[in-house]
C-alpha cells in the first residue's frame, strides 16, 4: 500500500486557560498567564508553591458520577479533551469504521494521586481496605481505554510513556498508523494531572521547577536569561487524525496536515539533555526528511521551551545546528510560557496550538522574555504575537530519559 496523507480534522484541549479551543487560542495570542499559587493542596512545607492549575474543572456534564469516581484526574482530563475533539471532528463512524479507529493517549506520570492515597490506606488500614478500583483508576493506559469505551474505538489503543515527550510520541505513532494503512481514524495526544503532593515534591527536589513563588505570573520564562526551571501544569490535548481522502470526501474542516514524525534518543543521561543538541537536531531532521522537504521550508517551531536553563539553551543549539543561518528567520515560541509544562500532555496541547497557528497565521508570544540570554539567540516571538503565513511548522517535545520527538505539520493550501 502506498503511504497515505493524514489530516487533522478535530482538536480538543483541557488547559489552565480553558477547554474551549477557540477561546484558549485567543488567550494565548493575547499573552495571558495561567500560572498561580497552588490551590490543590497545602504547599506550606514545599519549596515550590506555584503551578498552571485547572481551577474550575467539572467532569459531570460528561460522565456519570459512578464512573468519574473511578477515574484519576489525568484520565478525566483526557476523556473530556477527547470527547470535545471527537465532537469537533463532527464525524459519524459506523461499526466497520470503528474497527479501524484507534486511540493513542499517553500519560507521562499516570495516576500518582490515586497511587499516593491508596498507599496511605494500605499503611493506615491494611491491605484489605485498599480500593478494588485502585488499579484500574491508577494505571496510565486507562485514559486510552476510557476514551475507547466512550467513543467505541475498536482499533489500536495504546499509552506511550516517554515523560515530557509522551503527547508528541502518541500523535506521531497515530500519524504513522494512518499513513501506513493500519487504521483510518486516530484520536491521539496526552493527558496529565501531576499537581499533587508526591509529584510536586519529586520534581521540586530534582531542582527542575521554578521557585518564583512570589511572582507566579513571571515564573515560566522560556529562553529568558533569568529562567530558573519549569512550572508544572496539568490538562490534556488531543487531535483527531483522519485519512486525507476520507476527510476531503466528507468535506471535513481540515486544520492542518501531518507530514512528518521524527524520533531520536540522546542515550546520554536520565534527566539532562545531551549538551551539544545534536540528537535533538537529528530528531527534527528526521521529521523534515520524512516530508521530503528542505530545512529552509521550516519557518515556524513550537518549541519544547520549558524554561529550564538546560532545555532552552540546548534546544536553541539544536535549532542552530540543524538550520544554520536560516535558524534566525524561523518564528519560534513556547506555549509553556503561559500555561506551564503539562508534562505528558504538553505535546498534545502544543500540537493543537501548532495546527491552529499554521491555519490562522497568528503566532502567540512567548511571555516573560525580558532579558535576552546570549545562549538563546533566536526569534522567540517575545511578548507580542505576530502574524506570519507559515507553510510548515514543527512541534518539539523532549522527555526525561533523553526521548526526543518532533511532529511536522503542513498548512492546508
Amino acid at each position: 500500500m502506498n503511504p497515505r496523507r493524514v489530516a487533522v480534522t478535530g482538536v480538543g484541549v483541557v488547559t489552565p486557560l480553558g477547554s474551549d479551543t477557540t477561546l484558549f487560542f485567543h488567550r494565548l495570542l493575547s499573552g495571558e498567564n495561567a500560572i498561580t499559587r497552588i490551590d490543590a493542596f497545602d504547599t506550606e512545607a514545599y519549596s515550590v508553591k506555584i503551578a498552571g492549575e485547572i481551577k474550575d474543572f467539572d467532569i459531570h456534564p460528561y460522565v456519570h458520577p459512578r464512573d468519574s469516581q473511578r477515574m484519576d484526574r489525568f484520565c478525566q482530563f483526557g476523556l473530556v479533551a477527547s470527547i470535545l475533539c471527537f465532537e469537533d471532528a463532527s464525524i459519524q463512524l459506523d461499526e466497520s469504521e470503528k474497527e479501524r479507529f484507534g486511540v493513542i493517549l499517553g500519560s507521562g506520570i499516570g495516576g500518582t494521586d490515586t497511587f499516593t492515597k491508596e498507599v496511605i490506606v494500605l499503611h493506615e488500614k491494611g491491605p484489605n481496605r485498599v480500593s478494588p478500583v485502585y488499579i484500574p483508576k491508577m494505571i496510565s493506559n486507562i485514559g486510552a481505554a476510557q476514551v475507547a469505551i466512550r467513543l467505541g474505538a475498536k482499533g489500536i489503543t495504546s499509552n506511550p510513556v516517554t515523560a515530557c515527550a509522551t503527547g508528541t510520541n502518541a500523535i506521531g505513532e497515530a500519524f504513522h498508523r494512518i499513513k501506513f494503512g493500519l487504521e483510518d481514524f486516530m484520536l491521539a495526544g496526552g493527558a496529565e494531572a501531576a499537581i499533587n503532593p508526591i509529584s510536586v515534591a519529586g520534581f521540586a527536589n530534582m531542582k527542575a521547577l521554578s521557585r518564583q513563588n512570589e511572582h507566579p505570573e513571571k515564573a515560566s520564562r522560556p529562553f529568558d536569561l533569568n529562567r530558573d526551571g519549569f512550572v508544572i501544569g496539568e490538562g490534556s490535548g488531543v487531535l483527531f487524525l483522519e485519512e486525507w481522502e476520507h476527510a476531503v470526501g466528507r468535506k471535513a474542516h481540515i486544520y492542518a496536515e501531518v507530514v512528518g514524525y521524527g524520533c531520536s534518543t540522546d542515550a546520554y543521561h536520565i534527566t539532562l539533555p545531551e549538551p551539544s543538541g545534536r540528537y535533538q537536531a537529528l530528531c527534527m531532521r528526521k521529521a523534515i526528511e520524512e516530508a521530503n522537504i528542505s530545512v529552509q521550508d521550516i519557518t515556524y517551531i513550537n518549541a519544547h521551551g520549558t524554561s529550564t536553563p538546560a532545555n532552552d539553551a540546548t534546544e536553541t543549539k539544536a535549532i542552530n545546528l540543524l538550520f544554520g543561518e536560516h535558524a534566525k528567520s524561523i518564528h519560534i515560541h513556547s506555549t509553556k510560557s503561559m500555561i506551564g509544562h503539562l508534562l505528558g500532555a504538553a505535546g498534545g496541547v502544543e500540537a493543537v496550538v501548532t495546527a491552529l497557528t499554521l491555519e490562522s497565521g497568528k503566532i502567540h508570544p512567548t511571555i516573560n522574555l525580558e532579558t535576552p540570554d546570549p545562549e538563546c539567540n533566536l526569534n522567540y516571538t517575545a511578548n507580542q504575537m505576530v502574524e506570519a503565513e507559515c507553510r510548515y511548522g514543527l512541534s518539539n517535545s523532549f522527555g526525561f530519559g533523553g526521548h526526543n520527538y518532533t511532529i511536522l505539520f503542513k498548512k492546508v493550501s
Binding site: R66, Q69, R129, V133
Partner: protein, 80 residues
Amino acid sequence: MNTKEILEKAKPIIADKLGINEDEVLESKHFINDLGADSLALVDIIMSLEEVFGMEIPEEDSEKIQTVGQMVEYIANHVK
C-alpha cells in the same frame, strides 16, 4: 441495630458509589440489574459497608449478596 437503621446508614454509601439518589436505594433493588453496579462496584460497596459497620464479610458470603435487602439482612444478622 435493626434492618431499618442499617438501611438508613447504608443508603448514602451505596448511593455515592453508584452515583444515584438515596431514594433509589430500596431493599427490593438488585445491585447489578437495577442500580447499575458492576462486580467491581459491588466489591467497593461491600468494603465500605464493612468499614462503616465494623465487620468483615467473608468472600463466600459476599458473593451471595445480590440485592440491597440481602445486604441489609446479612449485616443485621452478623453485626456485633
